[in-house]
């Protein structure tokens, strides 16, 4: 059967955020795919150059609604390195608690979205209900459900009172039980096994060659995790381990995320129980000396990088953001090839794409290896020819 181009998006009921796929299919099988995610470009990197360190933090918090704490932490961490400011251990622990709660709410959200993509809406309702518990904890700790506003250069803006710590600790046992249920379901539930196993396969070598990051890479047996490789915040002092899996498919990515939920809960509990005393902030200078910092952070979706250059003023000279979704698109383009059209939603959802993050810069990969190249005009001509032949004129 001849190939057909199926355009999907940028506005489409199956997509949560604006993205355009041009899927080239032969019958039901995907031959190649092009992505266009430029619909959310807001020029944040340019805007960051015009704001001082106090005002740029809220701006970066809004790069993404889900991993807002990731973007501010990676930035203030970089600026603090440039300024050579030591952040008090209590502030580091509070940042770690918020970071892991953010990872938990993000992974629970992902689990719900993935369940929804395969039509398993009961699980979607369950995970999102349990995600509310995490959101409530975040609200009690930071004052906000999203865009927490907890970070500032030099420390955090809000201390944890004993009542808040106790309330958070009291919520953990139920959450732990729910996570155990999901871990059990992910490895045994029939619907999930049928739709996740063998779908969107990526071998370890492919994951490395295509530069996949985060749970996508770790599900293919690549054990890169910035929390372990380039330790920051309180991670060196907390007992936890990097979760990996060897399945390499959507099933493996689910197991990794469920494993990270469990690890995240352990980290939160450890930090709450062993919260160091002392101040929560240090007075940071207004300006940063001339410096260049590559600040790395393990966001829920993978390695997030801010390249920061300062120049003796109170503003950044250059901020270059590389988001995990940008790094992961190449692997999606490859893992979709040879799969069924019907598997697009779940494979795309499996990297947990965050388009607001990504299309602040963006992506397309028309050069992904193993995908045949055909330009738009060729495709158009091909489409016209195909329909002419089909209609017999």
């Amino acid at each position: 059967m001849a190939e057909v181009v199926v355009p999907i998006g940028p506005q489409h009921p199956a997509l949560k955020e604006p993205v355009n796929f041009k899927v080239v299919a032969d019958g039901e099988v995907i031959v190649r795919l092009e992505l266009d995610v430029s619909y959310n470009h807001r020029g944040i990197e340019k805007a960051a150059e015009a704001r001082d360190f106090v005002r740029v933090v809220p701006l970066l918090e809004r790069v993404c609604g889900i991993c807002s704490h990731s973007h501010t932490t990676v930035f203030v961490k970089g600026i603090e390195e440039a300024m050579k400011v030591d952040v008090p251990p209590r502030a580091q622990a509070i940042r770690t608690i918020v970071a892991e709660l953010e990872r938990m709410h993000s992974h629970l959200l992902w689990l719900g979205v993935a369940a929804h993509e395969i039509g398993f809406n009961t699980l979607f309702m369950w995970t999102w209900r349990d995600r509310e518990a995490v959101q409530d904890m975040l609200e009690e700790i930071t004052g906000n459900r999203v865009n927490y506003g907890i970070n500032e250069v030099g420390g955090v803006r809000r201390d944890l009172k004993p009542a808040v710590i106790n309330a958070a600790l009291a919520r953990l046992p139920l959450l732990e039980q729910r996570i155990a249920t999901y871990a059990d379901m992910a490895s045994r539930e029939r619907t999930m096994l049928m739709r996740f196993q063998g779908v969107g396969k990526l071998t370890k070598q492919q994951a490395l060659d295509l530069g996949a990051v985060g749970p996508t890479a770790r599900a293919s047996g690549v054990d890169y995790d910035v929390r372990n490789d380039d330790p920051y915040l309180s991670y060196p002092d907390v007992p936890w381990k990097v979760v990996t899996d060897d399945h390499g498919d959507v099933f493996g990515r689910t197991l990794v995320r469920v494993g990270e939920l469990r690890e995240g809960l352990g980290i939160v509990r450890h930090c709450l129980e062993n919260l160091p005393g002392g101040p929560i902030t240090t007075k940071a200078p207004r300006a940063a000396p001339r410096a260049e910092v590559l600040s790395r952070y393990e966001a829920p979706r993978g390695e997030l990088v801010h390249f920061i250059r300062t120049n003796n003023t109170d503003k950044v000279e250059r901020l270059d953001i590389r988001t995990p979704t940008l790094a992961n698109w190449t692997s999606v383009a490859v893992s979709l090839v040879g799969q069924n059209l019907a598997d697009i939603p779940v494979i795309v959802a499996a990297i947990d794409p965050c388009l607001s993050c990504t299309s602040r810069i963006t992506v397309v990969d028309r050069e992904a290896r193993r995908t045949r190249t055909m330009d738009w005009e060729e495709l158009r001509a091909h489409g016209i020819r195909f329909y002419r032949e089909k209609e017999g004129s």
Partner: protein, 158 residues
């Protein structure tokens, strides 16, 4: 695998330029645009780097800086830094050596106007399709031209 020592990196990059250790696990080579492919090949083969973290690009007012950040099982960040002249910002692509670099190169091309020679499809990816040609918003000397249309909805359009 243990972290890379500065000496190991300097030996691998012998003859390519000065190597410095910025901090614990950050080692940086400064080289010339013509030698970037050599340096990258050595990083991949001799230093076991298998992951490109980012290609950072910056306009320092006089020249453009490109910094290729790589890492591998040793968890050390090896950076390869080059400077490109402003009047002719061109460098050969590394997307054939490192496939994920292809995306980053297109992004840099779009925002800073650096040309990656030999790149298979250096087309627009970040800016909207109706963004005018030859306008690179992350250059320090860039100012929006009031007579040009930068995309979106035209004011006063019916």
């Amino acid at each position: 695998m243990s972290p890379l020592a500065k000496g190991t990196v300097a030996a691998a990059f012998d003859g390519l330029g000065p190597v410095e250790q910025v901090r614990g696990n950050r080692i940086r080579l400064t080289t010339t645009p013509g030698q970037v492919r050599d340096a990258l090949t050595k990083a991949l083969r001799e230093l076991a780097c298998d992951h490109v973290i980012q290609i950072s690009a910056a306009d320092n007012g006089k020249t453009f800086d490109l910094i290729y950040h790589l890492t591998g099982p040793h968890r050390t960040v090896v950076a390869i830094a080059v400077e490109l002249p402003r009047d002719r910002p061109e460098i050969s692509t590394v997307s054939d050596l490192l496939p994920p670099a292809g995306i980053y190169e297109r992004q840099i091309h779009d925002l800073l106007g650096i040309v990656f020679a030999g790149h298979p499809g250096l087309k627009r990816i970040i800016l909207n399709e109706d963004w005018p040609e030859g306008e690179y918003p992350l250059r320090k000397d860039w100012k929006p031209d009031p007579s040009k249309f930068y995309g979106g909805v035209r004011e006063g359009a019916q």
